[in-house]
């Protein structure tokens, strides 16, 4: 069953720990203290921003019919099966940046500062395959982020997941 990261915005205190955890998980050393000294500095693929007094967590939604996947000329972006997250194959990416320009309505794709390829949230796919939570969720001190199966959500909520732009917002917001 497809899994998503469920965010409780009321619980999030905007501490940016998820960003640190994300960057560390995508660093060479995978160790925070070493990672901060790496050159180039590892990048985080989730971001927390305060907008209108709300701490918004913003990362890839792993859209069902992902526009970034459509635009990519080399099929470097895609998912292995319908339940997998949308990931970038670094070896296939030519860094043409067309996905950055029009591929993502949410503006979550960016160029890797190390090798120029496009980078985005990969849902910590290695962890996921072992049943573990992505780094942002496992590292959240208030457990505002949780890895949940889609069927754990109420039905009307399930429908929204994967839509390009969420139309209805509840107290508990999922960032699929």
């Amino acid at each position: 069953m497809r899994k998503i990261i469920h965010v409780d915005l009321d619980t999030c205190m905007g501490c940016h720990t998820c960003e640190l955890e994300c960057a560390t998980a995508h660093s060479k050393s995978k160790d925070l203290l070493t990672a901060i000294q790496e050159n180039p500095l590892p990048q985080h693929r989730i971001r927390v921003e305060s907008v209108k007094g709300i701490n918004i967590l913003w990362q890839c939604r792993h859209c069902e019919d992902a526009p970034c996947e459509t635009i990519c000329p080399t099929n470097a972006i895609g998912r292995a099966n319908p339940e997998s997250p949308v990931v970038v194959d670094d070896n296939k990416c030519l860094s043409c940046k067309m996905c950055i320009q029009v591929g993502c309505p949410f503006g979550v794709l960016k160029e890797d500062n190390a090798d120029g390829v496009v980078t985005k949230c990969d849902f910590c796919i290695e962890n996921l395959e072992e049943g573990a939570e992505p780094a942002c969720a496992s590292g959240c001190p208030t457990k505002a982020l949780k890895l949940v199966s889609l069927d754990e959500l109420p039905e009307d909520k399930q429908e929204e997941v994967g839509k390009e732009i969420p139309t209805v917002v509840y107290k508990k917001v999922s960032l699929p």
Binding site: L9, E49, V51, K52, I54, I56, W58, P67, I71, P73, T74, N75, A76, D89, N91, K92, C93, L94, S95, C96, K97, M98, I100, Q101, V102, C104, P105, F106, G107, V108, L109, K110, G116, V117, E164, I165, P166, T167, V168, V169, Y170, K171, V173
Partner: protein, 254 residues
Amino acid sequence: MKVIIDGKDVELQEQKTILKVAEEIGIEIPTLCHHDGLSSYGSCRLCIVEITNNGNTEIDTACTRSVEDGMEIKTATERLTEERKLIAELLLAQAPESEKLKASLSKLGVQESRFEAREDSDCIVCGRCVRACKEEVGAGAITFVGRGYKTKVDTPFSINSDVCIGCTACAEVCPTGAITVEDEEAMRYIRYFNTELELAECAECGKYINPKRMIEKLKKEDFAYYPEENFELCEACRRNKEMNKFADKFLEAK
């Protein structure tokens, strides 16, 4: 389909290149012109392997050759190692100043070439940039010019390309780092190809984003889901716009 690679038995269900199969079982074959995102080409010849099938032994490139049932493949015989070294030195003499190339060739133990370095040369004619531009990006701004060892990559007549969209994929895939891109104010310069392009400004913050020609090209393609105004925004402003919408809806629901 059964093949043997370096003594290991491998069973396969589908057609794959020797390079792919070797990679899957953890055997590294050196490559240079190969790129996972591009069509296979077989020009650098570094990935040569010895193939024995039906009693015949031949040398072919792992990136272009698909496995066939019964093949016995050797990826690192003495003969191959020697020939790879020679080819690597031929390549290095074509781009003697390239640190990027030297780094790639270090696995073969080649850091110097027995051949006299070519003057004013930094391209090994691997065709990655040409394939990326033509086959993947669909611009076809550059191609091969000349023949034999004088072959190089250039725009037609070596003048400012009017079809380049400035995506810079050519520079990114170049294994010698010969192609570089410089953004200065409102202009993007790809000096290797005598090409310059105007950059678009973000309609919101004024920051220079991608080249105008690239945005024009993308606008012509079918992105029904994509709001027209988003083409003119940088990713940060696009993100902010969506975040604000989100926040509004969230507050409204509350």
